[in-house]
């Protein structure tokens, strides 16, 4: 095993972790502020991928299609999330967790059928834009340009979230709501508006994750089920509701899985669960402080 292989595998794992982070950040944010287990988060991610496909196809899979899709898909998913929050979720904030889970789970089923009705059952695929195609040489090993692109987008999103949460007034209210919801209400802040905004932001992140993964894979029904498992594992490992915990555990998960695939490829399928198991034995309440 030479250095180049290890290095390229590390960067590939890191870029895998970036997708995990973008999706899991939305989930953990909703966890932290709304205290809702949003099973439909994976469905929003799938919706993001399908919308990205449609936008890109509208432009003949041309060079602008991808960039426009990257802009439009997350916003479209954000609007859908807003409708879900205002239309359904806000009525069940005071109900118990089981009801909330049932509602979000029913959204998963609805989204699955909706996708089938709108886009049909055939496998869809979207092109990687010309400038990001192919791969470049990294100390003798090769790294696809698209993975490098993800390595840039991931930190930008993380930085943006950090700026929003720690530097803006709204972000501070979000953090306060996550820490002590009653106190925020007592201070006269309209917390339902905060809830709507956070859920929309979470949806935007899910849609962005879907739009980013779309060019690299098959866009098909069932892609929601495969991401939601990772997202939940990451959120639990990182500490429920803690964005930085999600960032750290996404990176551990992505890089850990990549090295697992390199060293024990025949049982790669169990690696995420091994990582989650070990980390939860070491730190049962998550890597960082949980918001719950």
């Amino acid at each position: 095993m030479d250095f180049a292989t290890l290095a390229s595998q590390f960067f590939i794992g890191l870029s895998r972790g970036m997708i995990f982070f973008i999706v899991a950040a939305g989930l953990t944010l909703i966890f932290g502020v709304l205290r809702i287990t949003n099973f439909a988060h994976g469905a929003l991610y799938m919706l993001g991928a399908f919308i990205a496909y449609s936008v890109s196809t509208l432009f003949g899979q041309g060079p602008y299609g991808f960039w426009l899709a990257l802009l439009v898909a997350p916003i479209a998913v954000m609007l859908v999330s807003l409708v879900i929050e205002r239309g359904l979720l806000r009525f069940i904030y005071n109900r118990n967790h089981l009801i909330q889970m049932l509602l979000t789970y029913s959204l998963v089923l609805i989204a699955g059928d909706l996708v089938k009705i709108i886009w049909g059952t055939e496998y869809k695929s979207m092109d990687i834009p010309g400038v990001l195609r192919g791969s470049f040489n990294l100390w003798g090993a090769s790294l696809p340009w698209y993975n490098a692109f993800l390595l840039i987008v991931g930190p930008i999103v993380a930085l943006g979230l950090w700026l929003f949460l720690s530097k803006t007034h709204l972000g501070k209210i979000c953090r306060a709501t996550a820490t002590d919801r009653e106190m925020v209400d007592v201070l006269g802040i309209n917390s339902t508006r905060v809830f709507a905004m956070v859920f929309a932001l979470g949806g935007w992140l899910a849609g962005l994750g879907g739009a980013l993964i779309a060019p690299t894979t098959t866009i098909s029904m069932g892609m929601d089920a495969s991401i939601i498992i990772y997202a939940f594992l990451i959120v639990v490992i990182g500490g429920l509701g803690n964005i930085w915990g999600a960032l750290i555990s996404s990176i551990i998960m992505g890089v850990g899985e990549a090295f697992g695939i390199l060293f024990i490829p025949s049982i790669a399928i169990i690696i995420p669960y091994m990582i989650a198991g070990v980390l939860l034995i070491v730190r049962p309440s998550g890597l960082l402080k949980s918001a719950w």
Partner: protein, 417 residues
């Protein structure tokens, strides 16, 4: 108090369970002796086929094709004044338990004479078991597991598509014609993936004893990012990568092969690599040079029979037929020919007529092998290539059924176990 409630509940459950069991037993007892037909050679009753298949979800694209192929066969048989075939369909949603319950419903309530369908291999095996118990013949045109007509085969199950044993052997023959020695095996971590790869590997080691297995990678079904797998395999520097993966994963894998530039460094083999279902979604991102096997293409074999089939299918459904359309079509044709040959509605006589039956199909002469009820058709192999601006296959060769069918001895040995 709590315990008593629990007991009462479980007692109720037992009562309900036994009631259901009795109903099921009574019903299945009735189902196995429906209208025995008298031997009226002049006027045959229509034969009713109950089709259980996956009409919703990710595999619906295959079930739609096979159903349309079957419908075309039924129409053609009727146009020629052959036996009348009626059918009903049920959607199993890719769930094996639903396949069996629909199969039972079709036999008991709809009183079908034949069962057919099941893209899900586990569903095929489950329905096959029921077919054996109820003595209602079952034509598989969807499930690819080699167990269906292999280890778990019996008198009442037939298969009109090449199974994983045949695919694996065809792949082994193709690879034995190359010089590659060090081989990396990979695939989806489920029945289909393991079955194709195991069959290929055991055949390859027999045909070409010098080959060496360098390692194996197995990914989960629904994997979205293949770059870490490809990077790891590339670093091991094998001579060739052999892949068994299906459906949506196949498209994603091929995309990653192109994006990582793997094909420039390392030859790759995958079943259905040049199938339209794989290439169409890929657009211009199909990796040229990936080797593969495929039983059928609308333009291969380039014969009058195939052209006529494609023409008829296009006229009826306004699209080109893919491999599964052929499988459903053959299922219908075999059934029609067998009823005609038997000259009777008696299921046992139709089975006897079906055993060893040969018919002309778009891919040439096809035979339902007498010993294991597995269809024998040729298989093609080739590489993905851009021909006149369209991605398809080139360097196509045909393997005859004799080259790729598992031996009857091996089948009987597996069944005896």
């Amino acid at each position: 108090m709590v315990r008593m409630v629990g007991k009462k509940k479980s007692l109720n459950l037992i009562r309900l369970g036994s009631l259901l069991l009795i109903t099921a037993l009574v019903a299945s007892g009735c189902g196995s002796s429906p209208n025995e037909s008298k031997d009226t050679k002049t006027e045959l009753k229509p034969t009713k086929v109950g089709i259980v298949d996956t009409y919703t979800g990710g595999a619906a694209v295959y079930a739609k094709d096979s159903l349309d192929g079957f419908k075309l066969a039924v129409k053609e048989i009727a146009d020629k004044g052959g036996p009348k075939i009626e059918f009903v369909t049920r959607d199993d949603e890719f769930k094996p338990d639903k396949s069996t319950s629909w199969a039972k419903e079709l036999v008991m309530r709809e009183q079908v004479d034949f069962l057919a369908g099941t893209t899900n291999s586990a569903g095929s095996l489950a329905v096959s078991q029921y077919a054996k118990e109820s003595k209602v013949p079952f034509i598989v045109w969807g499930g690819m597991s080699d167990k269906i007509t292999g280890a778990a085969g019996h008198r009442y199950v037939f298969s009109t598509l090449p199974n994983t044993a045949i695919i694996g052997k065809a792949g082994a023959v193709q690879l034995s014609k190359t010089t590659h020695q060090k081989i990396w095996l990979a695939g989806s971590d489920y029945e289909y993936g393991h079955s194709v790869i195991n069959n290929l590997w055991s055949n390859l080691t027999t045909i070409k004893p010098g080959v060496e297995k360098m390692g194996e990678s197995w990914w989960r079904v629904g994997e979205t990012d293949f770059t870490p797998y490809i990077n790891a395999i590339r670093s091991a520097k094998p001579d060739i990568l052999v892949v068994g993966t299906g459906g949506a994963d196949m498209v994603a894998f091929m995309k990653a092969v192109k994006a990582t530039g793997l094909i420039q460094e390392l030859p790759v083999w995958a079943h259905t690599s040049y199938d339209p279902a794989t290439l169409r979604p890929l657009g211009d991102q199909a990796p040229e040079g990936v080797m593969g096997t495929n039983p059928y293409l609308h333009n291969y074999p380039d014969t009058a029979d195939n052209k006529a089939f494609v023409e008829a299918f296009k006229k009826e459904y306004n699209r080109e037929p893919a491999a599964f359309a052929l499988y459903g079509y053959m299922g219908g044709k075999f059934l029609g020919a067998a009823i005609e040959k038997a000259g009777s509605n008696d299921k046992e006589k139709i089975i006897d007529a079906m055993e060893g039956l040969s018919i002309d199909t778009p891919v040439g002469k096809a035979t339902l092998r007498k010993e294991d009820h597995q269809v024998a058709i040729p298989m093609s192999y080739g590489v993905v290539a851009k021909v006149e601006g369209v991605f398809t296959a080139k360097d196509l060769h045909t393997l005859s059924p004799e080259d790729i069918m598992p031996s009857v001895d091996a089948i009987l040995k597996a069944r005896a176990k």
